[in-house]
Symmetry: C2
Subunit: 375 residues, 2 copies
C-alpha cells in the first residue's frame, strides 16, 4: 500500500460529544510553544505551579496531586494498581461503562470487586450501597463514578463518600467528566483517590490524567505488602519526580508540551472561578434543554440526576442514528456522541464542556439538529 | 501558598541532552491544529496513515504497529505486560539504566529476569549472552536495549536477535533512542516486540511510544493463560481501537493533537529517507567529535560502539559538572545531559537527535562549551 505523504489539516469541528471537547485556542497556542527539557529548572517550576492549580481545581491540600502522563484510563489504572493488592475487596458501583472498567481494574490487580449495580441512566442508589457495605465489612475501598460519561448521570459523590467513611472504606472517585463542570470538593467530601481527564470540562487536549491522593491513601500505598504491578504508574516512583523541592528523580520523560497546555487550561479555570464555571455549565444546559425539548427530544435521565455537561436524549422512533450524526459532521462540522453499550443506537450524548459550554455552541447544535431532523 | 497566575512562556532552548530533543517548528505547528474527535472518520484515517508511516520507520510489515498513548516507559511496559506471564523466564541484557528498568518490568509481571550484565559504557557481549541462552533453554524471551540512552552505547541488535532466534527466544528491543537515528530493521532482524519514543530522533514532542509486535508475538499474546495485568496497555483491547477497517471499538481517548505531531514528524522522516537521516546523524557526530576532542574532551565509549546521536564524554578533572551545565543553560540557553546512576558527575551526554542533528547545533555547542570551560 502506498503511503499518503500529505500533511494532515483537520477541519474546524464543533465538538459536542462526550469528549474531547472544544479546546480553547489559548490552550492550543500554549501547546505549541517551544519544548524545553523535562528536568529544566523552569519546567520544574511549571510542574509546581501546575500542581497548585490542580489542588485548586480539585479543592484539596493533598500534596500528591499531579497529572499522570497518559489519558484518563491510565489515571484510573494508577489509582487501582497503587491502592489494591491481591485479595483486597473493593465495592464498585456501576451505572454505566466506567464502573465496568473499574471492575476490570480491580480484578487485574488480583482484587475482588463487589459490584453494586444500578440501571444505566440512573444514579448510584445509596440504599443498595449501604447494604453492600454492611455485607462486606472487610471491604478496603469503595469506588464510583461521579459523572458517568456513558449516560450523563451525576451520582451524589458527597453522600456516597460520607457513607463509605462510616464503614471505614477508602473512597475512589472517577471525576473524568465532572472536574470543572460541576461541584467537586476532594477534601471536604473525604475523597481518598481521584482521577480526571484533561479533554472534558478543562477544555484541554486529550492525553493527561490529573490525579490526587489523600494522606490516608499515601499511607496505604507506603504500607503495601506487594510491589505495585505497574512500573510506569507506581506512585512511589512518580512522587520522586513530581515531589517537593528542586531535586527530582528522573522517572520518565514528562509530556512537556501537554503540561504547558494543561497549565494554561487551569489558569483559565482559575481566572473564571470554580463556582462561575459550574454556574455557566448549569445555565448553558438549561438553554440547550429548552432547545432540544422544543425539537421534541426527550431526556433519558431524571432531572435531579442530570449532568449539565453531558446531555443524553432519546433518538426518536424512525430516525437513523448514524445518518443523523454523519450529516451533522459532514454538513455542519458538528460532532455529537453516540450511545455506548446497551444504549447504542438508542440515545445521543451532547456535551457542553468547558470552553464548549457557550451560547454559540448551544444555538448551533439546536439549529443543526433541527435542520437535519426535518429533512 | 498563593498561586502564580502568569501564563508560562518558555525560553527557546537548544536541546542537546538525551531528550527531549529540539522539536521541528513544523511539528509544533501540527500539534496546535484544532482538535477533532478520536472517533472522527478523518481521525481514523490519520491513525491508519500514522501506522503506515511507523511501519516505514520501523521497516516492518507488522500489522500491530502503532503509538501507545503514553511515553516510552509505558511502551516498555506495554511490551512486557503483554508478553510475560507469571513464571516466565526472560533473559535481560543490562549495560545501563534501561536494562535495569526492563528487569523491574519482568519482575512486576511475575516473571523471572535472568540478567546478563555488561559494564556501563560497553555494548552487550555476545559471548556472555550465548552462555546465558545455553544455561536457560527454557527462556521465553530475550530483551535488550539497542541504543542505551544512559551511556550512548549501541549494541549489535541484528546479531543479538539472530542469536536469540537460534535458541528460540522472542526478541524484545528498546529502540527509544535508536529509531530514526541509526539503522534499525524490525523484520529483517527478526524483532518480535519493539518500543520507541517520540522525543528523540523523531524530533517530536514527548508523550507517545511507537510500538510494533510481530505475528509470533501476537500469537503469544492470544495464547496467554492469564489476563494482561494492565487494562490500559492490554494490546488485545488496544488492537480493537487501532485495528483495521473503519469500525473501531472505543478503548481510551487518543491524544489527538500528539498524533497530529507524530504524523508530521514521520512525514518529515519519510521525505528525508531513512538512510539519509542515519547518514546525517553519523556526519554530525563526526563534526561534533572533532570539536569536542579539540577542546580536550574524551569519549568514554569505544569508537565502534558509539551512538552518533548520543555522545558521552568524560568531565575533565577539576571541572564542576553542575556549574558548567547551569552556565550553558543560563548563558547560552543550551541543555546538555548529566550522567545517570554510576556515571553521575563523571560524564556529560550530548545529544544530536533528529532535527537537532545539524551543523548549527554542533558548532553552537562546541563554541559554548569552549567559552564556559575556559572562563
Amino acid at each position: 500500500m502506498s503511503i499518503n505523504t500529505q500533511s494532515f489539516i483537520p477541519p474546524k469541528r464543533t465538538l459536542m460529544g462526550p469528549g474531547p471537547s472544544d479546546v480553547d485556542p489559548r490552550i492550543l497556542q500554549a501547546l505549541s510553544l517551544p519544548t524545553i527539557g523535562h528536568l529544566d529548572p523552569l519546567f520544574v517550576e511549571l510542574m509546581d505551579n501546575t500542581k497548585q492549580l490542580l489542588q485548586f481545581a480539585f479543592q484539596t491540600k493533598n500534596a500528591l496531586t499531579m497529572p499522570i502522563s497518559a489519558p484518563g484510563s491510565a489515571g484510573m489504572e494508577a489509582v487501582f494498581v497503587n491502592l489494591v493488592e491481591p485479595g483486597d475487596k473493593v465495592i464498585v458501583c456501576q451505572n454505566g461503562v466506567f464502573g465496568g472498567r473499574m471492575q476490570q481494574n480491580v480484578q487485574r490487580c488480583g482484587g475482588r470487586a463487589i459490584m453494586v449495580q444500578d440501571d444505566w441512566g440512573t444514579a448510584t442508589d445509596l440504599n443498595k450501597l449501604e447494604q453492600a457495605l454492611k455485607e462486606h465489612p472487610d471491604a478496603k475501598a469503595l469506588a464510583f463514578v461521579h459523572a458517568e460519561t456513558s449516560t450523563g448521570v451525576r451520582s451524589d459523590a458527597q453522600a456516597i463518600c460520607a457513607l463509605a467513611k462510616q464503614y471505614e472504606c477508602l473512597t475512589i472517585v472517577d471525576a473524568v467528566t465532572s472536574l470543572g463542570g460541576i461541584e467537586l470538593a476532594v477534601d471536604e467530601w473525604q475523597i481518598d483517590a481521584i482521577y480526571s481527564g484533561t479533554q472534558k470540562c478543562l477544555s484541554c487536549v486529550p492525553g493527561l490524567s490529573p490525579v490526587s491522593f489523600s494522606d490516608t491513601a499515601i499511607k496505604v500505598i507506603k504500607n503495601r505488602q506487594t510491589p505495585v504491578q505497574s512500573w510506569f504508574l507506581d506512585m512511589d516512583l512518580v512522587m520522586g519526580y513530581w515531589g517537593q523541592g528542586t531535586k527530582r528523580a528522573y522517572h520518565h520523560t514528562a509530556p512537556v508540551n501537554s503540561i504547558y497546555a494543561l497549565h494554561e487550561a487551569l489558569l483559565i479555570l482559575h481566572k473564571e472561578g470554580l463556582q462561575t464555571a459550574w454556574d455557566r455549565h448549569a445555565a448553558m444546559h438549561q438553554t440547550l434543554r429548552s432547545g432540544l425539548e422544543d425539537l421534541g427530544l426527550e431526556f433519558v435521565v431524571k432531572e435531579q440526576d442530570r449532568l449539565p455537561q453531558l446531555n443524553m436524549v432519546r433518538i426518536p422512533d424512525g430516525i437513523d442514528d448514524a445518518l443523523v450524526r454523519s450529516r451533522l459532521l459532514n454538513e455542519f462540522d458538528l460532532e455529537i456522541g453516540a450511545g455506548l453499550g446497551v444504549l447504542a443506537g438508542k440515545v445521543w450524548r451532547i456535551g457542553l464542556m468547558g470552553y464548549g459550554a457557550n451560547q454559540r455552541n448551544v444555538e448551533y447544535c439546536v439549529s443543526a439538529l433541527s435542520q437535519v431532523l426535518s429533512s
